[in-house]
């Protein structure tokens, strides 16, 4: 039973879905496609959600699954991008270093790190949203931090 309408939900969580998709696929065009597909799926969904928390969890889960499907798709496997890096020239140098360091992580660590540091979700919430054990999320977060430390060489404190 959600009080917000679908358009309001789209406005509220558009950023969340898009940024999560972008962190996964490292391509703005693909991230937009995935965002569109996720919200169209949400619009076409007839079942009512229990709460807004439920909606957020559903959107994150669908986005992660859609990104996994993208990596498994024949189009992704047969296509080589012209530029390896994302088109984020607008980012400042110090910000882009951190951001690219996260993007270089393996997908499962990238998801956990993004949700933990950008969406401010707790480990239990991430575990709930992704359908995994909390211990798994903890270990993935720990390994992700270790990898980031290696990449950033102590330039930034990862807390």
């Amino acid at each position: 039973m959600n009080s917000l309408s679908k358009s309001e939900i789209i406005e509220k969580y558009f950023n969340t879905v898009y940024k999560l998709a972008l962190s996964q696929v490292k391509s703005t065009a693909t991230a937009e496609d995935i965002t569109q597909e996720v919200f169209l799926k949400y619009i076409d969904r007839n079942k009512d959600f229990e709460s807004e928390e439920h909606i957020k969890a559903w959107l994150i889960r669908v986005t992660v699954n859609r990104c996994k499907s993208h990596f498994l798709s024949a189009h992704f496997k047969r296509t080589v991008p012209l530029t390896e890096e994302t088109d984020m020239t607008v980012l400042p140098k110090e910000k882009s270093d951190i951001y690219y360091a996260v993007l270089e992580l393996p997908p499962k660590y990238k998801t956990v790190v993004h949700l933990f540091y950008y969406e401010d979700l707790s480990i239990s919430q991430i575990a709930k949203y992704l359908g995994q054990k909390e211990s798994t999320i903890k270990s993935q977060l720990h390994r992700g931090r270790e990898m980031l430390k290696e990449k950033l060489k102590g330039g930034t404190d990862i807390v």
Partner: protein
């Protein structure tokens, strides 16, 4: 430190406002009613009906009737029902006197028996003569198919009027006599005999072989012979006036031949049955009394 910088980096990435607007508009637009869930229910019902129909058809095709008659015979039987006045072809070896009589019943019921009997006599005679020349092949299977049809059509047989029977059989007798005289005598004794009823009471496997006028005696005398399944019978029919005395008895001689003597209102019948059981002979005698 890392958290703030990572957040700031993410926040500095621009969003596609056009995509956001389009999605918001899409979210505001009324949703289409999804009908396929209802269609699934209807299609399930339709599929169930189709399956039931198919199973019923298959069951019918595997039934006793379809096992014992070939496709050609089924077509032939349907032709008997739809075109009763069609002349019998000479090369149709599978039609016997029973089918002929049943078809003629339908013709007689439809026509006015009181006024048109004499008009139908000529056509009847031709068909009768044609049927007499026919030797049925695969008699047993064909006979059983007729039994099955007669069981299904029993109500119509029961409602068949006695006057119609009289008209038919009298025309049969006239047809026999016309082979000699080429004319129909008006005031002669007529032989009345319900051949269909008799056929139904015959033992299993026994079918009519010959149904011919007795040339040696009177024009109204008839001899009907039948055999099958190791059994045989010879039935002699005479007009009632030719009977020596009234009888209604069954005698069993030592050769395993059972003789049936029946005198009814219109004829006297003598049937000699070989290898009939007493029950079968009794049923046969009962049918002759009717």
């Amino acid at each position: 430190m890392f958290k703030e910088q990572y957040k700031a980096a993410n926040d500095s990435i621009p969003l596609n406002e056009d995509l956001l607007k389009r999605l918001v508009i899409k979210g505001k637009s009324p949703q289409k009613v999804i009908k396929f869930k209802k269609i699934y229910k209807y299609s399930a019902v339709a599929a169930a009906i189709v399956l039931c129909t198919l199973s019923a058809v298959l069951f019918t095709k595997n039934s006793k009737f379809f096992h014992k008659t070939s496709i050609g015979e089924v077509n032939q039987l349907s032709n008997l029902a739809t075109a009763p006045s069609t002349p019998v072809p000479q090369n149709n070896a599978k039609e016997d006197a029973s089918a002929f009589f049943s078809r003629e019943k339908e013709t007689a019921v439809k026509s006015d028996t009181s006024s048109n009997t004499s008009n139908n006599t000529a056509a009847f005679e031709d068909k009768k003569l044609a049927s007499e020349k026919i030797q049925p092949q695969n008699e047993e299977a064909y006979f059983h198919s007729h039994i099955a049809m007669a069981d299904e059509a029993s109500p119509s047989v029961q409602t068949y009027s006695e006057s119609t029977q009289t008209a038919e059989l009298s025309s049969a007798a006239k047809g026999a006599s016309s082979r000699k005289n080429n004319s129909v005598p008006k005031n002669e004794q007529q032989t009345v005999f319900d051949l269909d009823t008799t056929l139904l009471t015959l033992p299993q496997g026994v079918v009519i072989c010959e149904n011919l006028p007795n040339e040696n005696t009177s024009s109204n005398d008839r001899t009907i012979t039948g055999e099958g399944n190791g059994k045989s019978f010879t039935l002699s029919l005479k007009p009632n006036t030719a009977c020596e005395r009234e009888r209604s008895d069954i005698s069993d001689d030592t050769n395993g031949e059972i003789a049936i003597y029946v005198t009814s209102k219109n004829y006297c019948a003598v049937a000699k049955c070989k290898n009939f059981t007493p029950d079968e002979a009794q049923r046969f005698a009962d049918s002759l009394k009717q």
